[in-house]
Amino acid sequence: MKISDSLRSGLVTGIAFIFFILIGIYTTFEALTLSGLWLTVLGATASEIAAQTPTLTNQQFSRIFTVIAALVAGAVAARPSVKLGQGILRAAIALATAGAIVAIFLILMNWLYANGFNVSFVFEKLKEPTITALLFGQPPLIGGAIWVVLMTVGGAVGALLLFGWRALNLQKKGARSAGPGVVRGNQTRIIILAVLAAALLIAPLFLSVYWNQVLGSIGLFVLLGLGLNIVVGFAGLLDLGYVGFYAIGAYTMAVLTSPDYPFGWGFWLALPIAMIMAAIAGTLLGIPVLRLRGDYLAIVTLGFGEIIRIILKFNPYTGGPQGILNVAPPTITIPIIGVTIEFASSTAYWYLIFFACLIVAFVALRLNDSRLGRSWAAMREDEDASEAMGINTTHIKLLAFGLGAFFAGLGGAIYASRQQHIFPDDFTLLVSINALALIIIGGLGSIPGVIIGSVVLIGLPEILRPISDYRLLAYSALLIVMMLVRPAGLIPASRQQREFAERDPEMETVETT
């Protein structure tokens, strides 16, 4: 066992904790008393959650976060060890180092404040009371010592948990290898999917307006993700300007249905037009980038997305920065009775989005297995080789851009109608990045992955309200970590899974040389 490894992981952990302090995760940390040891903190927080509210407060969140971070750091530090005692020692040394680093940082900050430097001028979240609270209201040296002790204990517990989990896993593995493996049949999968669909159909009736809206947002991003998945996942064309087609769909819907414009069409009439407009724009913008590959394509499409947004923003016809108001909601007229139902509630919109998602998912699934889908895969893997095999890459690239934009237009049209007012700044690059992040986290090219990705990226932040300020930070960190740890995504598409599995041994040999 090398002590320098532990010291290094301690250093990394310490810097990570200082980063957490700097970004203000502890801003609302009240002065913990000495009795607030790890387990008490956990227990108290758990009971508070149970007793008070279903959502977390900032303070509870920061406590849970600290505990989990220390446990994880301990487990990671102990990972190379096989023996329990050694692992705990490793974790303890690492986390004691981390605690010492945090303590030195806090003592330094405290000293700066004591000598009249205003640290919060540079680090906005480091107000003087925050530092005092982080030192547990004790004199700096004692406060620092508490940090070291608490972190060491946390690390040791983390290591214990790791070994417990390992032991459990071993047992499971033994049990699994003993009996015959359970193969989940196609039938069971269909039943699960049917139950899920039924739940998604019935549940919104009992959920509050808020949750219906969250579901709707997730659904819209599923739509967007499914469309982008065709372009990026199937055809391998990295399109960063995808939001432009979403915007075109939304604006077409708005212009055609808003009473401020001379058309005044209904939702259902405008919907196909919006989708076709987006598809035309997608194909047209696809033409000039046909010869570009990889990174060039990314930057040019990004430029196109920005151009569309800027034109919408500074063009008086589309309302300029104020956008367009009063977009019409969809109505359904039942033919014989002549009753007209207007989609007014978020529940109704949820059903609309749900069915749109079903249709698009079905189309995407069929596309992936079609001749076109296989051509896309061939082009994604090697453009020159696929062309030599007789695939018309021009044709299928344009089809990918057009189809992707078509579905983006659908999403945009529904979005415009649901919001009833749209602004050009709803369609920034961040939407593209969000959509890209969710398909990558779910697994490029995988349709269940898109759904899981949207639930994780769009749904989770709604539940974790206190971290809404950290939402983008968490997204981007997740994106980086996913790329480092599991580049194929949470639910990889079978083709990509094979690809990444093949690449692994190759990667190792390169790294060892």
Binding site: F19, L22, I23, G24, F121, V122, F123, E124, K125, G236, L238, I287, P288, V289, L290, R291, L292, R293, G294, D295, Y296, A298, I299, V300, L302, G303, F304, E306, I307, I310, I311, K313, F314, I433, L436, A437, I440, L444, D469, Y470, L472, L473, Y475, S476, A477, L478, L479, I480, M483, L484, P487, E499, R503, E506, M507, V510, E511
Partner: protein
């Protein structure tokens, strides 16, 4: 990073075989439509120039603005192009590296101003601010390479690109959370306030002149470093063939880190300059200059150092002069920048100064 201008005499090899194909597939329709579009733009320019007349000083001012912008773009673009030349990846977070440099410069400037150094010795303060910006950017760039990019060096192309996008957003958000969302205001030293009057009565902000001079100096230093030193030779060797270079005893890891450090130092300088010129900075300041600078690098031929400088200046001039020449509102200047990029890529996918091998890389 190969030396430029060897591409103009070579004929694309595939032109001799195209006779086997029917005539309508032999014609590059996209290029014809694009050429028509360019003609329209030129016609519009001539029309505008014929109907409206601006005084000479106005053009001088606009050209000065264009060169200023171009100098900043060129400095940032060099960072992209250096990294791309070696790793074939877009360091999307490069603009954020610049932003961290700008923040570091701001804090040093504030400290100097509080300590009274800004009044007593403004040149020393100016130097300290630059040094702080460059050092902090360098550290940020090296850290970024170590944490986010090095583990992915052998991964498929899309993976590091997505990581870079993630790193860009991450750094932006981290800066917003750490330093706070409100803008910070750079105080200009006295010798940078006001304008100088160039011959012909053309006014030019002193910060603009400073940017142009400083970027020329930095670019010259970079050119010397890449062409005349051992490190530069190692960088060029890796750009040509990574494996062969490592067999010749070049430490690939060290040179890649050095490349990131050099690019980040230039970005840090650009960040401080932008801070002095616009006198305000915030956490999103790096994003658009970053994208524009990447556009400039692609425009000039990515991986090509003189190309990045040329691309930056062309882009800066296009943005400054375009709205007047085409008589459209100046909010559309971003549209002009990207249109220039698309048009250049249509006719020369390898960029203005890019070699033909650039086509393969793209």
């Amino acid at each position: 990073m190969a030396p430029a201008t060897q591409s103009d005499s070579s004929v694309p090899p595939d032109t001799s075989v195209t006779h086997l194909r029917p005539w309508h597939t032999r014609v590059n329709w996209i290029a014809i439509v694009a050429a028509f579009f360019v003609l329209l733009l030129v016609a519009r320019m001539i029309m505008v120039l014929a109907t409206k007349s601006y005084p000479l000083t106005y053009w001088g001012l606009q050209i000065g603005n264009g060169l200023t912008l171009g100098g900043v773009y060129a400095l940032i673009a060099l960072g992209y192009t250096l990294v791309y030349g070696i790793l074939f990846m877009i360091n999307f977070a490069h603009g954020e590296v610049m932003m961290f440099g700008a923040y570091a410069g701001f804090f040093v400037l504030s400290a100097c101003s509080a300590a009274g150094l800004l009044e007593s010795n403004q040149y020393l303060t100016f130097g300290l601010v630059f040094a702080a910006g460059m050092i902090v950017s360098m550290i940020t760039g090296i850290g970024l390479e170590r944490i986010a990019y090095r583990p992915l060096r052998t991964a498929p192309r899309l993976v590091p690109l997505i990581t870079a996008i993630g790193a860009s957003v991450f750094m932006q958000e981290a800066a917003r959370l750490i330093f706070g969302a409100p803008i910070r205001v750079y105080t200009k030293p006295e010798f940078l306030t006001g304008v100088i009057i160039l011959p012909g009565g053309i006014p030019m902000p002193k910060t603009g002149a400073m940017i142009i001079i400083a970027s020329i100096i930095l670019m010259a230093a970079l050119y010397w470093l890449v062409q005349r030193t051992r490190t530069g030779a190692a960088m060029r060797a890796i750009a040509t063939n990574k494996e062969a270079a490592s067999l010749m005893g070049v430490s690939v890891d060290l040179i890649i880190v050095t490349t990131f450090a050099i690019g980040s130092i230039l970005a840090g300088a650009a960040g401080v300059m932008l801070g002095f010129h616009n006198s305000q900075i915030n956490s999103t300041m790096g994003f658009f200059p970053g994208i524009k600078a990447f556009t400039a690098a692609v425009l000039g031929g990515i991986g090509n150092i003189p190309g990045a400088m040329l691309g930056g200046i062309i882009l800066g001039l296009a943005e400054a002069l375009g709205p007047t020449l085409l008589d459209i509102p100046s909010q559309y200047k971003d549209v002009i920048a990207f249109t220039v990029l698309v048009l250049v890529l249509l006719f020369r996918p390898q960029g203005i100064l890019g070699s033909d091998s650039g086509k393969e890389k793209a």
